[in-house]
Symmetry: C2
Subunit: 282 residues, 2 copies
């Protein structure tokens, strides 16, 4: 597996790949890789000739300095995992390589970012859209792979690609979970053993809420009940629990048959902020 | 000269060009071509193997429905001029080809768009940045050529390219003028003979103001004097006359030696809105 650290090096590498008629898959990550990331690499490997993974803890998408500082960084271990999963090249740039000067332009995705993560993490999706645009321009993949644990991020990136006519396809894969149901996340490494033991309750609350949605309970009631359940565990400090249209991400008053519903939550568990979601097809 | 009308056709054409190792120049226009556009095509021809011109009257950058409706459209004549100037391919898409669905995301360029055209044409630069991004993604040029008559547009496009790491170079060429000094513009076709006769006064006012700037008169005074001169001609209905830093576009209180100053104006002349500018190196 080739390791590239310069933007120009990545551009030259991927231009050569494309001009050799090969299909190029991109897996953008922030590192501290887990099975969710590796699933994306293996999926890319199946449908593309070349797979470029990127590891870049993007400062502009963090609205919390501690979260950025404490985000796990394990590049050597990550490189081993990527090579074993069939990754062809790893792009591992320094911050100055991606942001040689401060960024002026800001993206606004309207209603799509005025809920959930967008509402609770000011500037987050502007940082995401900026770095994703840059990585797309530097690597110009045929396909780019994202995990559905960041459901709203996938929606934002799809909108970005459609609105600016990026010449690539977004592929999203379902969340990978630990045996006890906890959604895999790089931030899980920062949980204490006690916190790790109760973290799977988040998925249990989501599953119970999904059952109530399927049974026809109104979204507002489902949300209230889920929030009450989360409050019973004093270590959870919950930011939101939302029942939304899976595509528009807007709150649901009632249901449209045939439209998917997404249930999303964000909660602080000790010093770590966790998110998770489940999708219900009605 | 090849004529392409579909986005997919343009992508395939330009991908092939790049993979043949050729340098690709892009000249985005709204058509009704004049010598200013043709200068860009010839410049592109000199430094690139293939020159793609685009003609697309972009609805999202018009804040005035009449201006969009009445914008001159002369595709056959334009195609002849482009072929004669050495253009290799012309992209002439329908609106639905560029905007298959409504655009959600909005760009905000901060201070750069809060002055001059950005201040007077709400949404204009969002439309410009959107269509330019799309055209860059569809054609992926090595170089893209713009005219300095739209000074602020060039600044916005440069910021877009830098902030999103587009893999291309922006090249800007000076305004081409008629013998009597009027800046060439597709909109000049819409002037009545009487309006056309007085239109060159705009450049005269700009030149006089530039002289005063060089002589050390303060920007506020230069602006006031230029506005007074414009008011003497009752057919001019002036929107702004601005003395600004040529790079940041921000109003100038005083001068920094070595920095360039741009003098910009926008005025309505009958039913037509005209802009012009001159640059002064101090």
């Amino acid at each position: 597996m080739e390791i590239l650290t310069s933007a120009a090096g990545l551009q030259a590498y991927t231009e050569n790949i494309r001009c050799n008629g090969q299909r190029l898959g991109l897996v953008p990550t922030m590192g501290a890789l887990h099975e969710g990331h590796l699933q994306l690499v293996r999926a890319a490997r199946e449908s593309c000739d070349t797979v470029v993974a990127t590891i870049f803890v993007n400062p502009t998408q963090f609205n919390n300095a501690d979260d950025f500082r404490l985000y796990p960084r394990l590049p050597e271990a990550d490189a081993g995992l990527l090579a074993a999963a069939g990754c062809t090249a790893l792009f591992l740039p320094a911050v100055e390589e991606i942001y040689p000067q401060p960024t002026v332009l800001k993206f606004d995705f309207g209603a799509l970012e005025q809920v959930m993560e967008g509402a609770h993490r000011p500037g987050h999706f502007n940082g995401v859209a900026t770095v994703v645009s840059k990585l797309f321009h530097l690597s110009r993949p045929h396909r780019a792979y994202f995990g559905q644990k960041d459901w709203q991020q996938v929606a934002i990136v799809r909108q970005l690609v459609a609105d600016l006519s990026f010449d690539l396809e977004i592929v999203a894969y379902p969340t990978i979970r630990e045996a006890d149901g906890l959604a895999m996340s790089s931030r899980n490494r920062r949980l204490t053993p006690e916190e790790r033991a109760i973290a799977p309750q988040l998925y249990q609350v989501l599953q119970a809420a999904a059952r109530r949605i399927r049974q026809g309970m109104l979204p507002a009631q489902v949300e209230a009940q889920a929030l009450a359940e989360l409050q019973q565990q004093p270590l959870f400090n919950t930011e939101y629990f939302a029942v939304a249209d899976a595509h528009t991400l807007q709150p649901l008053a009632g249901y449209t048959p045939g439209r998917a519903v997404v249930l999303c939550l964000a909660t602080h568990l000790g010093a770590v902020r966790l998110i998770d979601n489940v999708v219900v097809e009605l």
